[in-house]
Amino acid sequence: MTIEEVQQAIIADFSVYEDWMDKYTYLIELGNELVPIDAAYKVDQNLIRGCQSRVWLQQKMEGDLLIFEAESDALIVKGLVALLMKVFSGRTPQEILDAEPYFIDEIGLRQHLSPTRSNGLMAMVKQIKLYALAYKQILSQKK
C-alpha cells in the first residue's frame, strides 16, 4: 500500500467509531499489537523530547527503504505510534518527505493530541522527517 492508501485505510478504520472511548479502545488494541523494539534501542538518545510518556524511535535503512521501529510506555501513545509506523515505515526517504500525515486531522486526532498536549506526536513526525532528509542526502552522495 502507498502512504496515501494507508492513510485512507486508517481513516476508514476510525470512521467506524463514533464515541471517542471506542477510538481509544482501538488505539490501545493497536498499541498492544505493536512489536516491541529491542531493549537495546530503548536508550535516551532515541527518546523523543516533549512527550509526557516515553517514546523511543529507532531507524535503519534496508536498501532504498527507511525502516522505523518505535515504542512507548503508554499504550494510547503506542497505538498512535503504530499508526505512524504503518504510514511511514518501509518507505523511501523521498516518499516520507513528500507525505503529509493528514490522517491525524481527519480522524480528529490533532485536536485531541495537539503539540501543547505534550504527547509528542508532532515531535515524532518531525523526527521521522529529519531522518528521511538525512538519509536522502546520504543516498544522493553515494550516487
Binding site: I28, S53, D73
Partner: protein
C-alpha cells in the same frame, strides 16, 4: 453543619459546564484552584472603574488604586497572622517568593562550604533555587528523606544539621504525597541551632489556618492562584529582622530611596522587595479570595475536604490493583496513585475523555518519582467545591478504564 456544598457550587459557575459531553469534574486543584465569582467579578469591576499606577501618585485614581493594593496587603497580613504589614511582600507566586530568598538571603548569608537543607518531597520550586544558590556560592545541598508511607524522617534532621547549615527550606504540605509536615516541630529544632526556616506554603494555605507567629517560621511563601485568587500574584512573608538584612532582589522603580550613578539607597520594607509596577489587580483579587475563604471558614473547608479524601481513598482501595503514593495519617485532599499497569498518561487521557480532570506526569517532583521508582503518577486533588457524587463518578470511570486494558 455550617457547610452546604450546594451553596458553594453557586459561587463557582465555571464548574457548571460540560467537557467532552459530560459534566466537568475538576480534580486538579493542587495545580490551580478555580476562582469564585466574587473574585472574578471584583477584578472585572475594578478593571472597569479604577485604574492608575500606584504609589507616589497625586491623583484620584492613583490614590484609590494604591489604597486598594495596600488594603490587600492588610488582608494578607491578617490572614497569615503576621506581626507587621511591612513583612508582607507581594511577589508573582510561590516560585518567585522562594527565588527571592534563595537569591537575597544567600547573597548575604551563604558562603563557600555552607549547607542548605531541603526535603526529598519538595516541589522543584523549593529545590532548584537552592541548588542554583549552592552552585553560585559553592555550598552544599542536604536532603531530609521521607519514608515510603509519605512521612518525613524528622528523626534524621538533627543528624543533617551542622554548624555550616544556613537555612532549611521545607514544604508545609507536599504537592504529591499530601503529607502535612510537622513544621512547627521542625522549626523548633532548626531554631535550636539558630537556623532560619523557609516554609513553602503553596499547598497548605488553601486548607490550613496559618499563624506565622505561632509557627515562628522565618519565611513563608504561597501563590494566589492556588488559593482561589488570580494568576501572577503571590506572597512572601518574612520576619522583618531577616528582610531588613537582606539585599534587594530586583532593582527598579519604587524599591529605591535615591538613585545616583555613584550610589543608590533603597526604600523601606515592603517596597525594598517590590521593584517595578506591581500586579495590583492581582493583589486586589487575592485579597478578595482570602476574604471569601475566611467567610466560608478554613476549618469548614478542611473538615469537608477530609471527608472527600476519606471517601475517595476508601472507594479507590476497593478497586483491585490500586497503589497509593503517600499515606500519611495527616494529609490534605491529594491522592497520588497508580492503577494496575495503566500508564498515567493513558489514564489521564481517558479520564479527560470522561470529563474528569486529573494531573498526570512527574508533578514537578522528580525526587518523589525517583523515590518510588516510577516515571509518572496520576494525581487527583480535591477542593471544597467538589462533591461525593463526583467521586462516585470518578470511581466508576476508573472501573470502566480498568476494563479497557
Amino acid at each position: 453543619m455550617t457547610f452546604n456544598y450546594k451553596d458553594i457550587r453557586k459561587d463557582f459557575p465555571i464548574l457548571d459546564q460540560k467537557v467532552n459531553n459530560r459534566p466537568w469534574i475538576y480534580f486538579d486543584n493542587a495545580a490551580t484552584s478555580q476562582r469564585p465569582l466574587v473574585v472574578v467579578e471584583k477584578i472585572h469591576e475594578f478593571s472597569l472603574q479604577t485604574n492608575a499606577n500606584i504609589h507616589r501618585g497625586t491623583h484620584f485614581h492613583a490614590i484609590k488604586t494604591t489604597e486598594a493594593y495596600e488594603n490587600a496587603r492588610d488582608i494578607v497580613k491578617e490572614f497569615l497572622h503576621a506581626k507587621e504589614r511591612e513583612e508582607i511582600i507581594f511577589t508573582h507566586g510561590t516560585t518567585e517568593s522562594i527565588n527571592l530568598v534563595a537569591r537575597s538571603f544567600c547573597e548575604r548569608f551563604l558562603s563557600e562550604g555552607d549547607e542548605i537543607i531541603v526535603t526529598e518531597m519538595e516541589h522543584h520550586a523549593n529545590i532548584v533555587p537552592w541548588q542554583m544558590a549552592c552552585e553560585r556560592h559553592h555550598a552544599k545541598l542536604k536532603v531530609l528523606p521521607f519514608a515510603d508511607n509519605g512521612n518525613l524522617e524528622t528523626d534524621l534532621l538533627e543528624s543533617l544539621i551542622s554548624s555550616r547549615t544556613k537555612i532549611l527550606a521545607i514544604a508545609h504540605v507536599s504537592n504529591t504525597l499530601g503529607t502535612v509536615n510537622p513544621i512547627k516541630e521542625i522549626i523548633r529544632i532548626a531554631h535550636n541551632h539558630n537556623i532560619p526556616v523557609l516554609v513553602d506554603g503553596a499547598q497548605s494555605v488553601p486548607h490550613i489556618t496559618i499563624d506565622v507567629q505561632d509557627l515562628d517560621c522565618d519565611f513563608f511563601a504561597f501563590s494566589g492562584h492556588k488559593i482561589y485568587g488570580p494568576t501572577g500574584i503571590g506572597v512572601l512573608y518574612g520576619k522583618r529582622a531577616w528582610l531588613d538584612k537582606m539585599p534587594p532582589f530586583l532593582g527598579g522603580g519604587e524599591m529605591i530611596d535615591k538613585v545616583t550613578f555613584e550610589k543608590t539607597t533603597f526604600n523601606e520594607l515592603p517596597h525594598k522587595f517590590e521593584a517595578g509596577t506591581p500586579h495590583y489587580v492581582g493583589a486586589i483579587g487575592l485579597g478578595s479570595a482570602i476574604e471569601y475563604i475566611r467567610k466560608i471558614g478554613l476549618e469548614n473547608i478542611a473538615a469537608y475536604e477530609h471527608q472527600l479524601l476519606t471517601y475517595a481513598s476508601d472507594k479507590m482501595k476497593e478497586l483491585g490493583g490500586m497503589k497509593f503514593f503517600g499515606e500519611s495519617p495527616n494529609k490534605t485532599g491529594v491522592i497520588c496513585f497508580q492503577l494496575d499497569q495503566i500508564h498515567p498518561f493513558d489514564l489521564g487521557t481517558l479520564l479527560d475523555q470522561l470529563g474528569i480532570a486529573v494531573r498526570t506526569g512527574r508533578l514537578c517532583a522528580d525526587p518523589v518519582m525517583d523515590h518510588y521508582e516510577v516515571t509518572a503518577m496520576t494525581r487527583a486533588s480535591f477542593s471544597f467545591y467538589n462533591t461525593m457524587e463526583e467521586i462516585d463518578r470518578f470511581i466508576d470511570s476508573l472501573i470502566r478504564i480498568q476494563k479497557m486494558f
